[in-house]
């Protein structure tokens, strides 16, 4: 008797929780859904009422957006170029740095490690004014270099890579290659990097998304319209050209989130796994 009562209570609890989770799931999705649906509706339709069913004005909205000079493909291209370059640099040099900490004993190791830990905690935004002025002095405004090269020194990635290497590295791994006379750099390329593939994949996703989403730094450094990154294009949607053209504005927002939504449907498992792995290792 007591047991069945308990079971009933448990079942009830479960149902309530599922309902609650479903509500939170809707909360995550509905804003995007409304934006995507409104991207297919005309301005009068949007003004009339809310709908969750797409309409037929997507093409008209798209043409209007294009006529406003909203060059989304250029935005995708610019953002992709910056994010991909920054990610490759940060993956390679972070692994190299992490490997140095694991495989060798050298003076100043502790000191540099302390710097890395401090860098993780102190965001680069606090020195953004000095960074801007320094780049202006070097005549590097309207240039992608300041958006890409700093990722060679990416402290959080080094931290993650070192944690990963600690779990897989063993001197025996490299000793045989050493006896064969391989150089240290070659050992890193042929033995260590392939072993780090899972960690590289995780950090590639996070590094790419972080760079793709970066807004403040390009906002400060880039003025040239043809060099705008995607978040900077999005910011243009707040200007007067879209005051009444709601459909075009929604189309612009929808196009800016579409690549990420698409990537997420395929990679969400890895991303969640990466967040979990990252947090355990703290």
């Amino acid at each position: 008797m007591y047991d069945t009562d308990n079971m009933k209570k448990l079942k009830m609890q479960r149902i309530l929780l599922y309902v609650f989770f479903a509500i939170l799931t809707l909360l995550s999705m509905i804003p995007f859904w409304i934006v995507i649906v409104n991207a297919t509706r005309s301005a009068p339709e949007i003004q009339q009422g809310l709908s969750l069913i797409p309409s037929d004005s997507a093409w008209a909205n798209w043409t209007h957006l294009r006529d406003q000079g909203f060059n989304i493909f250029q935005g995708y291209g610019n953002s992709f170029f910056i994010a991909a370059s920054a990610t490759i640099l940060s993956l390679y040099f972070s692994s190299l740095t992490a490997y140095a900490f694991i495989a060798y004993d050298f003076k100043g190791q502790k000191f540099i490690w302390t710097i890395i830990l401090l860098l993780i905690m102190i965001p680069t935004q606090v020195s953004i004014i000095g960074f801007y002025k320094f780049m202006a002095n070097l005549d590097l405004l309207n240039n992608y270099i300041p958006l890409i090269l700093p990722s060679v020194a990416s402290a959080p990635t080094v931290f993650f890579m070192k944690q990963y290497l600690e779990t897989i590295y063993h001197p025996a791994l490299v000793d045989s290659a050493r006896i064969d006379g391989a150089s240290e750099l070659r050992i890193f390329h042929t033995v260590i990097l392939p072993l780090m593939r899972p960690a590289l994949a995780t950090m590639a996703i996070f590094g790419f998304i972080a760079s793709w989403n970066n807004f403040l730094l390009p906002l400060i450094l880039i003025n040239e319209r043809s060099m705008y990154t995607l978040p900077m294009l999005v910011q243009l949607l707040t200007t007067d050209g879209y005051r009444t053209e709601y459909g075009a504005m929604y189309m612009g927002i929808a196009l800016s989130v579409a690549p990420l939504l698409l990537i997420y449907t395929f990679l969400s498992r890895y991303i969640i796994g990466g967040v979990t792995a990252g947090s355990i290792k703290q």
Binding site: Y18, V126, V158, L185, I209, L230, P231, T238, I280
Partner: protein
Amino acid sequence: MATSTETTTEKDVAEKRPRNLAKRKNTDKWGYFFVAPFFVFFLIFNFYPMFYTIYLSFTDLAGWATEANFVGLQNYTTLLNNQLYRNSVVNTFILWVINFVPQIILAFLLAYWFTNRRLNLKGTGFFKSMFYLPNIITAASVALIFRSLFSYPRGPLNLIMLDWGLISTPVDFYRSVFSTRLIVSFIQFWMWYGQTSIVLQAGILGIDDSLFDAARVDGATDWQSFTKITMPLMKPITLYVLVTSLIGGLQIFDIPYLLTGGGPAQSVETMMIFIYKQAFQGGRNLNIASTASVFLLIMTAVISLFIFNSFRERSTKKGAR
């Protein structure tokens, strides 16, 4: 956390063994070569800009001037007397508190439900990925989404509330200090509670199962073992979440800037918006913006030191065990 203990023991082994191999000695110099790119780029793109920012805070560099003259602490006194700046500090903290308190509560509840073995919920992987979704979306786009959802007079939310008879005339959300702050905090909450709950869950799953088994044998309820075992053991990880969230919260810029530009009445003008506006709009007061950055740096450093110390305590405890 079980993994990190394992890691340390493995590292000990890894450190002891190579000492026996004499030839390894010659290769240690490679450590310098491999760390060199990181160190050089750190010096150029991190270290130098930080000290340049500090230097600028002691100068009069503003407008289109090219020469910076040393003015001592003048900018610091100017800034401390600047009501707009003092408000921006207060705004930043208000926005963080309104977002963080509900965020950590919901994250803890979700972590508790997801890890509860008696409930044994299905599909947690799916729900986790749905709750995390907003976090990966470009903050600039998110700001635009909420700017249009809450727009006046015929934004989607106004339309639906009119439709359901909840209101009789449209509400201009972004004219009210209260609702604008609430929306900014809600967006932050919405973007981050999923991430926080995943971190907390990882922490809970790291707790030794035998503790819970022992509690169950002693007749503890789920809730009791949650509050008496889980919560105390989760203190360090909660502290970590709190500090990283606070440091992130101090930097908040994209959302309030693109939502209202800091208004109404500068109610969501945060420290970063203040810095940005000082440096890149109007008078281009790079000196004042630098000074505000130095204050931000000091706040961040103090908070970071706090977490540094708590981690040190944790590792010494671990060593004792």
